[in-house]
């Protein structure tokens, strides 16, 4: 079945630097979603991007379906961006989740 791998497992940056997060999935996917989980645990959807490039605010996601990979770029990072970023891909109508990238932005 579908497997989702995220890298790096953790990333520490200074405020203002750009962050690049990677997600690789093992099988053809019709869904690829990025989520943010706050340090307190609440989870929100950031982007749904099964193919191509999508922008929202300081976030850019690029998914190359043929190569089974997606990236999330965060520009000009802020301390409030700290948290865990999860990607999820579909398999038989279920979302399969990666383990996440823990992002720490230092002031």
């Amino acid at each position: 079945g579908q497997q989702v791998q995220q890298s790096p497992a953790s990333l520490v940056l200074q405020e203002g630097e750009n962050a690049e997060l990677q997600c690789n999935f093992s099988s053809t996917a019709t869904q690829l979603q990025w989520f943010y989980q706050s340090p307190g645990g609440s989870l929100v959807s950031l982007l749904s991007n099964p193919s191509g490039t999508k922008h929202t605010g300081r976030l850019t996601s690029t998914t190359v379906t043929k190569e089974r990979r997606s990236s999330l770029h965060i520009s000009s990072s802020q301390t409030t961006d700290s948290g865990t970023y999860l990607c999820a891909s579909d398999s038989n109508y279920q979302l399969i989740w990666g383990s996440g990238t823990k992002l720490i932005i230092k002031p």
């Binding site: 989702v4 019709t30 869904q31 979603q33 989520f35 307190g40 645990g41 609440s42 989870l43 929100v44 959807s45 749904s48 099964p50 999860l86 999820a88 579909d90 109508y93 279920q94 979302l95 399969i96 989740w97 990666g98 383990s99 996440g100």
Partner: protein
């Protein structure tokens, strides 16, 4: 906007005990989900429901029961709590479950503690 409310936020029980988590949503969404998140890991699907009184097993359904009594509520029961299943349980809802990139909305999570 809508909200998903999970109760309780912390559920403490003894090993072997039957424990129930509740979830309410006011989005009027058809599909609801229960996920389990172990520390440092991704989410795993326990059960989902595409409409009232419907139940579909996820990959992690063994040891759990679920109930969709009405469209707005979805409960999850741990049939016999074990110490190795202490985790955060997340409830979510979406308009439907199709591969259309529809958005999942999550509750704040319920942490299970087994003593």
């Amino acid at each position: 906007g809508g909200i998903i409310t999970q109760t309780p936020k912390f559920l403490i029980g003894q090993e072997g005990q039957k424990l129930t988590l509740k979830c309410q949503q006011n989005f009027n969404h058809d599909t609801m989900y229960w996920y389990r998140q172990d520390s440092g890991k991704g989410l795993r699907l326990i059960y989902y429901s595409i409409t009232e009184n419907d139940l579909q097993k996820g990959d992690l359904s063994e040891g759990y029961d679920a109930s969709r009594e009405k469209k707005s509520s979805f409960s999850l029961t741990v049939t016999s709590a074990q110490k190795n299943e202490m985790a955060v349980f997340l409830c979510a809802s979406s308009i439907d479950r199709g591969p259309s990139g529809n958005t999942l909305y999550f509750g704040e999570g319920s942490r299970l503690i087994v003593v």
